[in-house]
């Protein structure tokens, strides 16, 4: 701003200044002027905005299918309304509670396991002196994040396989008979969660490491002068320092509780462990795309999205009240 008032060419400057003042005026008039002046920038946004409209907002409006009985010939808007019928059918379906329970437990377990571990890894890395060892640990723990879900699931299956797997090999050494981990529904959640932890902990730790590096060193210095041990400094300096970041991550994680990934659950699933591995998203896929019951699948998906959004809003409000931090201000 200051540059414009000091650099003042005699003639050409006047219109520019007038425009600057007008720009700050809000409303339609301001939009018109801005359009006139920056039409190339608006033009640039057109294609991405159309994309958002087509691939994000039209699907949202397509969700009315949940209240209709979809008929391919009549299309989405021509199909007859059925009110809450799809939802009622779903709620009365005996599979309903199993799905909700599986989705919820899997998700909560994932958050409970990976959230603290990422913080612990970050704190430990932060304490370690810089050197080859520290860099190696960081590089190696970060790497699995880049491996695809398909590959991670395949590795999990291979490692746990009763015929080939190294885990059963190890158990056999102690005289334990081979266990078909993936064929037993009771193991499913542990396999899902711990393979997830294996894949993402190093990645999640990076965010906390960044927050830790942002803590004012003077705080550590003064804590040292006061005779605080390392453990005390972690408790009273580091943990409060990463609190805002942790809250945001936790809110996001809880907000995603019902939206737990289709990809991994679907890949780890088999007919034997279905009683615990069938979650809402895999069920939607099967109902919608395999059985072609579009309306029902949309209704289930909508139910899931709404619960999710509600959870996110509630958790965010709670977090803001308790810690003063939230996703948005």
């Amino acid at each position: 701003m200051a540059t414009l008032t000091t650099v003042r060419p005699p003639a050409g400057e006047l219109p520019a200044r007038r425009r600057r003042r007008r720009r700050e005026r809000p409303g339609l008039k301001g939009l018109g002027r801005s359009l006139q002046r920056h039409w190339t920038l608006y033009l640039l946004m057109v294609v991405p905005l159309v994309w958002f409209a087509v691939f994000k907002y039209i699907p949202m409006s397509n969700a009315v299918l949940a209240f209709k009985n979809y008929n391919v010939i009549k299309g989405i808007w021509g199909s007859p309304w059925v009110g809450w019928q799809n939802f009622e059918l779903f709620f009365h379906n005996p599979v309903f509670w199993t799905l909700v329970k599986n989705t919820f437990l899997l998700s909560v377990y994932t958050v409970a396991a990976s959230f603290p571990l990422a913080i612990i890894l970050a704190l430990a890395l932060n304490e370690a002196r810089t050197g080859l060892f520290k860099r190696t640990v960081q590089m190696v723990t970060y790497a699995p994040y880049f491996i695809s879900t398909v590959v991670v699931v395949s590795m999990t299956i291979l490692v746990l396989s009763p015929r080939l797997g190294i885990i059963n090999e190890g158990l056999g050494f102690f005289g334990v008979p081979a266990i078909d981990f993936l064929g037993d529904p009771d193991y499913f959640r542990h396999i899902y969660v711990w393979s997830d932890v294996w894949q993402t902990t190093g990645y999640s730790a990076v965010i906390y490491l960044a927050a830790l590096s942002g803590i004012d060193p003077a705080l550590h210095e003064s804590a040292k002068v006061d005779g605080a041990s390392r453990l005390q400094r972690i408790r009273h300096v580091d943990l409060p320092g990463i609190m805002p970041t942790a809250v945001v991550i936790l809110v996001l994680a809880v907000g995603n509780i019902m939206a737990i990934g289709f990809e991994k659950a679907f890949l780890l699933q088999n007919p034997l462990n279905l009683s615990q591995s069938e979650i809402i998203s895999t069920y939607v896929y099967k109902t919608g795309l395999l059985n072609a019951d579009f309306s029902m699948a949309t209704a289930i998906g909508l139910f899931n999205s709404v619960i999710n959004l509600a959870l996110l809003l509630v958790v965010n409000a709670l977090a803001k009240r308790i810690t003063g931090n939230g996703l948005w201000s």
Binding site: L65, I147, L158, A211, L231
Partner: protein, 316 residues
């Protein structure tokens, strides 16, 4: 601790050593115990992540018999490349590899272009309505239409069973838009825009010859995020594609690794066993082959990645 590092003279070093010694004495005994715990913990983390990777790698270089009888631990047994031969003799895998390369390159170009096109205008404080646009975009992070409504759109646009189905519907990531916008906002000072405007430089010209060159590190990060996402995704291919010739590598992998479909009817028992052993081995080699491209790039870009995440996370 290493305050004198700039002067590598003898007295400096001595002072440093002395400082280090006093430091050590001042440190309480519990702290040393604590450090031992920290290093132990880090070693456990390292081992837990590294051992499965080594096991897969070692198996992939072993003989089919050694793999099937479970003799491989962390070092190849009866070193052989038969698994890799089998991988590269499979036309499905080669086709998948080529497809994935195409999807990754084309998808990344489309995604990066679209992301810059929306993120740059929104970073300019002079644009009216950018907050409305941002809110609309952020909302898509919180609420989605769901699987079937999206599928119906892709179907009605005519993308089903075409290569574009893997590129267009997930072209823009909201997270990447946030990263790009924050970067443009912090790295391109408003004064620069004003100065170039005085020189008669239009918005597009400014974007092309000033902003993009300045934003190269961020663009590299965003491009890599998109590229890795493309390379690793299988779900879109699973729902949108029917033609096996279009399948990306990940879908081929799933068919071979998880669904166990490596065709061929067998005749006698020994052939079956041999084929089974080779199929087992092939899985390990395939895992390595599929992950290597991504893992090869990763050490070079890890630093930028960290920075990219930070920009997005801290200033979002």
């Amino acid at each position: 601790m290493t305050a004198q590092a700039e002067t590598p003279t003898l007295p400096g070093k001595r002072a440093e050593r002395r400082a280090a010694r006093t430091q050590r004495i001042r440190e309480p005994r519990t702290d040393r115990l604590f450090m031992v715990c920290v290093y132990l913990l880090l070693t456990v983390f390292l081992a837990v992540v590294l051992l499965p990777l080594l096991y897969i790698l070692a198996s992939s270089f072993s003989s089919p018999q050694a793999v099937s009888s479970g003799r491989v631990l962390l070092w190849p047994v009866d070193f052989s490349l038969r698994g890799y031969h089998a991988v590269f003799a499979n036309p499905q895998i080669i086709q998948g590899y080529l497809n994935s390369l195409f999807y990754t390159v084309a998808g990344t170009i489309v995604s990066v272009t679209m992301t810059v096109a929306i993120a740059y205008p929104m970073s300019r404080r002079t644009l009216v309505g950018r907050n409305v646009v941002m809110t609309l975009i952020l909302f898509t992070m919180l609420f989605t239409g769901g699987l079937i409504p999206t599928y119906l759109v892709v179907q009605s646009v005519g993308l089903l069973d075409t290569r574009w189905a893997l590129i267009i519907p997930q072209a823009i990531g909201v997270w990447q838009v946030i990263i790009a916008r924050s970067y443009f906002r912090t790295a391109i000072p408003e004064e620069l825009v004003e100065a170039s405007q005085l020189d008669g430089c239009g918005d597009l010209r400014f974007l092309w010859s000033v902003v993009i060159p300045l934003a190269k590190p961020m663009i590299a990060v965003v491009a890599l995020m998109y590229a890795i996402m493309q390379w690793n995704s299988y779900f879109d291919a699973l729902i949108y594609l029917k033609n096996p010739d279009l399948f990306p590598l990940q879908l081929v992998l799933r068919n071979i690794l998880i669904l166990n479909t490596t065709g061929g009817g067998a005749v006698d028992a020994s052939v079956v066993i041999q084929r089974q052993q080779l199929a087992d081995l092939l899985k390990y080699s395939l895992i390595v082959v599929a992950s290597v491209p991504v893992l090869l790039i990763y050490p070079f870009v890890a630093r930028y990645f960290t920075k990219g995440i930070l920009i997005g996370a801290v200033k979002g």
